[in-house]
């Protein structure tokens, strides 16, 4: 097998997976060994859900490859002092010296024990980009798995920069790590700040453009007129962080302004817990014998366990019955004759006060707009209609609601996610054609199959791998520094869970050690790849200061940057167009990747690695070798840690575990196994085949876009609308924490409510500003951010082309504000302005746009670079500088919201 021939003019098929909206399949034109042009892989046009097109970010890869600012040899820090103000004094070393330095540290740790005195892993690793770095890490995950316990929970912005509440609640309710509309069939879509036209990547943009052509009515509810707002039928400028009030008012309209039979009765009755009876303590009324939740059977006129066959469940009423309620830690309330109210009845009473008129005041949106949107939502739901998908008849409910960042994370995220899912349930538009769908699972198993993850759990619902809260199993001593298993039952314990816990706590606790948890310690070795926490976190400068304390940091370094400024060893890995990896593609996946195919795509070297950069797989293999882990490492590869099991029915491409294997050998085996897996063993095409063709696919059933058939098949119900389980778990968690003297999580515990009421969410941030700065009125603006398709996740702020093309989209590099608001402050378009929170200030050019609320400022991107070459000279603002990292602003799932109260003034020196 040979590598790319440098003298040939070729089009090299490969993939780009810089962001979660990918991967995109592309070709790179190479002439005389030099990459010249990126283009869509036209061979994928028929099978890719985005017409085979390629996102704008992929076009930055050529410059990324040839960026003269790249780190092209391993380097060692010579200045032991660390900090932004310190010159690291990096000096080039050989790979051998670099491996030796790392192996020495690692072997020392292995000799002393993998956990430190607090019980935390001595080795930590942080990766950015919503899991996309794994698509570039080759076999490094196998090395990490071979190593043993590693702390993956030192966040670089997770929680505050992601759809955090949606990830957790979404997976609980409908296997929806992210939630998307069934865009090709949806007729009415209400998008609360979901910037799908920027965040949805090629597939998102393609699907929504098609939907517009088909007449979709999308209402964008958002404080500023984003790209998505621009492409919507209607823009509703809502006051920040009041989306839950709008959604609650929609619930109110549906439940109080329409007859009960206007809702999807069969769906509510059979596919949700709407008929479950609730007792006086707020828990399900359960059968005394079986402890199953009870339903009132209108036919028998009696309460029966929910799974009794041939019943006619009552939905809207109250009944008297004998039952038992079971609360936290098995607490029981046995009732001889007690009133049981259906969950739907409770819901209706719960939302009674939330009228559109009530919400209008809070949201600064006219009541008639809210009422109209709610009525349209109901009218467009086509309740009763059905559609045939691949021969199966399913309900057709072409209405959906999507939520964007800052709406679906941080305080208020739970309420929005809950209300959205309840709204879908009321009209039967959850997980059916046209409705609100999940895309993928990251917490449930198996990771590769959303539908397969549907297994029966308690009370007629899907199972969910909660972190235990019972007295015996609750994890009093966290396994990693962010304490996700201790504090967040919903975070589960999949390979993704560490990064989906309250990742900022690992940073926060360093200066504020948590009472009654083990002493926070620093990891002795910290690996960094495709992440830049020193600029990407909330309170980024504060995080950078803390990073400077870490004793030994190994950074895979593309260029020097703000985070690897604190590193001890820099390793130049072969980048996107220089290295090899096979990636599983297709099926359904965030953000709106809904494929009719599934399979594998190869990333391969279009050009030879520059300088001394090395393929990640070779680096991982060498590290495994030098730490005595080669056998375990290879075994783990064989078991499928890089995406494919190398052995299956009728095929066996396992690698010998006592030998060192090169990158090509490893990926050839992976390719062969992938081909075999995909074809049931019929084909065993290897690396050479993928190098030529780029990808291999097999059909993926359209029916598997929807959870509904699996729910019906297993007789399961969506856990809506009443969150009895969460309430009970919250109670147990409170018991555990209080037993251990932990009271600092009490505000978060309050989120475990079966029916969440409206809380004054904006006031949380106003109060926080006042607490820090003394006077809430001194910070009269909301500062928000918005997705930039050109930059998001790409780590490409140092790529000139991205800067150039992003400059065509209004507001990149500046502070977007309303001209009337600017005028009052004497700020003109182009003036340099200072945006100040109680924490700090950031500066940027004022970009006056009409499409933003007068009380809101917007900074696209996160550009406070001070080290990254090229990016540091762009003079851009960043809200990460001014957003405080705060326990008080952390919700029960461990997430914050990317929002902060600020003041804005014309900066001195403005022209």
């Amino acid at each position: 097998m040979t590598g790319p021939s440098p003298d040939q003019d070729r089009k090299v098929p490969t993939y780009c997976y810089q962001c979660v909206a990918g991967p995109d399949l592309l070709t790179v034109s190479v002439r005389d060994g030099v990459a010249e042009e990126v283009a869509p892989n036209f061979a994928a046009a028929e099978v890719h859900p985005g017409g085979g097109k390629v996102c704008v970010k992929a076009y930055g890869l050529v410059q990324k490859t040839y960026n003269p600012n790249r780190v092209l040899t391993p380097m060692r820090r010579t200045n032991p002092r660390k900090g932004r103000d310190q010159d690291p004094g990096f000096e080039p070393i050989t790979w051998d010296e670099a491996f030796e330095a790392i192996a020495e540290k690692l072997n020392d740790i292995r000799a002393r024990g993998l956990l430190d005195e607090s019980g935390y892993p001595r080795v930590a690793a942080s990766f950015g980009g919503g899991g996309t770095p794994q698509a570039y890490m080759g076999t490094f995950p196998a090395f990490l798995a071979a190593w043993g316990p590693i702390d993956f929970g030192l966040g670089s912005g997770q929680g505050v920069k992601c759809y955090h509440s949606e990830h957790l609640y979404g997976e609980l309710w409908h296997r929806a790590f992210t939630v998307g509309p069934d865009t090709p069939l949806t007729k009415y879509l209400i998008s609360f700040g979901s910037n799908i036209e920027a965040a949805g990547g090629v597939c998102g943009v393609w699907r929504h453009a098609e939907a517009r052509e088909n007449g979709i009515r999308r209402v964008q509810v958002e404080p500023h007129l984003s790209v998505t707002g621009a492409c919507s039928a209607e823009w509703v400028p809502i006051r920040p962080k009041t989306d839950a009030a709008f959604l609650f008012a929609m619930l109110q309209v549906l439940l109080h302004e329409h007859p009960q039979d206007a809702l999807d009765q069969p769906f509510l009755r059979d596919r949700t817990a709407a008929p479950y009876l609730i007792g006086p303590n707020g828990y399900y009324l359960r059968d005394l014998e079986t402890e199953k939740p009870l339903i009132w059977d209108s036919a028998r006129r009696d309460a029966v366990p929910f799974d009794t066959p041939d019943i006619v469940p009552a939905l809207h009423d109250r009944f008297r019955l004998a039952a038992v309620e079971i609360g936290p830690d098995g607490q029981r309330w046995e009732h001889e004759a007690v009133e049981g109210q259906t969950a739907l009845w409770r819901l209706r009473e719960h939302v009674r006060p939330y009228t559109p008129e009530w919400a209008a005041e809070i949201c600064d949106v006219p009541a008639e707009t809210i009422r109209r949107v709610a009525n349209d939502y109901l009218a467009e739901a086509c309740i009763g209609a059905s559609i045939e998908i691949e021969g199966e008849t399913l309900p057709f409910r072409p209405v959906a609601i999507t939520l964007g960042k800052t709406v679906n994370n941080g305080w208020g995220g739970y309420e929005c996610c809950w209300a959205r899912t309840v709204l879908a349930s009321l009209v039967g538009a959850l997980e059916v054609p046209g409705g609100t769908l999940g895309t993928t699972v990251r917490l449930n198993r198996p990771a590769s199959g959303r539908i397969e993850s549907v297994v029966p759990g308690p009370d007629g619902f899907m199972d969910y791998p909660m972190n235990p809260t019972d007295r015996d199993s609750w994890q009093a001593r966290p396994n990693i520094r962010n304490a996700y298993r201790t504090l967040v039952p919903l975070a589960a314990n999949s390979p993704w869970s560490q990064a989906l816990g309250p990742t900022h706590l690992a940073w926060l606790f360093q200066d504020q050690p948590p009472e009654n948890l083990p002493e926070p310690t620093l990891p002795e070795v910290w690996f960094l790849y495709r992440t830049n926490p020193a600029i990407s976190n909330w309170d980024a400068p504060g995080v950078a200061e803390k990073m400077a304390r870490f004793p030994f940091v190994v950074a895979f370094a593309y260029t020097h940057d703000e985070s690897n400024h604190m590193a001890d060893i820099l390793l130049p890995e072969a980048t996107d167009l220089e290295s090899t990896q096979l990636l599983r593609i297709g099926g359904t996946k965030y953000v709106e990747q809904f494929w009719r195919h599934q399979g594998f795509a190869l990333r391969q070297p279009a050009v030879a690695p520059r300088g001394e950069s090395r393929d990640f797989t070779d680096i991982a293999t060498e590290l495994a070798h030098r730490t005595g882990l080669l056998e375990a490492y290879t075994t783990i590869i064989n078991k499928g840690s890089v995406g494919v099991r190398l052995q299956g029915d009728g095929y066996d491409f396992r690698l010998a575990t006592d030998q060192v294997h090169g990158t090509e050998e490893i990926w050839d085996a992976v390719c062969r196994a992938a081909s075999a897996e995909l074809t049931g063993g019929a084909e065993t095409d290897g690396l050479a085949w993928y190098r030529e063709h780029g990808f291999k696919l097999a059909p993926f059933p359209h029916l598997q876009w929807y959870l509904y058939p699996a729910m019906v098949a297993q007789g399961l119900r969506f856990e809506q609308p009443y969150q009895e389980r969460l309430m009970r778990i919250g109670g147990e968690l409170a018991n555990r924490l209080h037993e251990h003297g932990i009271a600092w999580w009490d505000e978060q515990l309050a989120e475990y409510q079966a029916l969440p009421p409206w809380k004054d969410f904006p006031a949380l941030w106003e109060t926080a500003a006042a607490a820090e700065g003394g006077d809430a009125e001194a910070y009269p603006f909301w500062l928000l951010t918005a997705r930039s398709m050109q930059y998001a996740w790409g780590g490409n702020a140092g790529v000139q082309l991205m800067n150039e093309v992003a400059g065509n989209v209004a507001g990149h590099g500046g502070v977007i504000m309303n001209p009337a608001a600017a005028d009052r402050l004497g700020i003109a378009d182009g003036d340099m302005v200072e945006v100040r929170s109680p924490l700090r200030a950031t500066r940027g050019e004022a970009v006056l746009r009409q499409g933003i609320r007068p009380d809101t400022l917007l900074m696209i991107g996160q550009f406070d670079h001070w080290k990254t070459p090229f990016a540091k000279d762009l003079d851009m603002p960043s809200m990460n500088t001014v957003t405080p990292m705060s326990l008080k602003l952390t919700d029960a799932t461990g997430s914050g919201a990317d929002i902060v109260r600020v003041a804005v003034t014309r900066a001195e020196g403005s022209a």
Partner: protein
Amino acid sequence: MTRYVMVADLRRCVGCQTCTAACKHANATPPGVQWRRVLDMEIGEYPDVRRAFVPVGCMHCADPPCMEVCPSTATRQRDDGIVTIDYDLCIGCAYCAVACPYQARYKVETPRFAYGEAPTESEAQRHEAGRIGVSTKCTFCVDRIDSGVEQGLTPGEDPEATPACVNSCIAKALHFGDLDDPDSNVSQLLAENQHFRMHEELGTGPGFYYLWDRA
């Protein structure tokens, strides 16, 4: 006869600039030179505001003012409507640039690279000295069209015969084809939808149509 035109569906365009980047790749234009780009326009006042993304570039006008003013005859028009520039004739007077109502023309006086004075390997390989000091603009990827047609391919349908921006468009907002062929994709689109051309009142006869609603 053949009349190549571009059609941009404003209902679909999201302003992502993928076409801008793809054009820069296909044509190796230096930093700051964007033969294809997408404007981000805002119309109205808060809260009654609209935002539109508008692909622009050389409109390959039927009556190109750039060609009329060009003193050297470097700018010419082919029979298929594509307006070309002969870099070997152009004196770089930039008269065409001020004559173009679409700000589509660029003149770069000295070599310009992404990262300062020195070109990257890719830039060095693709740098064309002949483009310095002369007027440049969108060519509708004319070389691609010509070689595609030679192979019997259809511009606007076969990627190998279609401008890079159209090939790259992730919203299927950009279309290219032969206006004189009533069955072509662009003719169909124009028949089925309402459209306008920019600055039509100037009489330039732009070969670039914007769709804005159903017919």
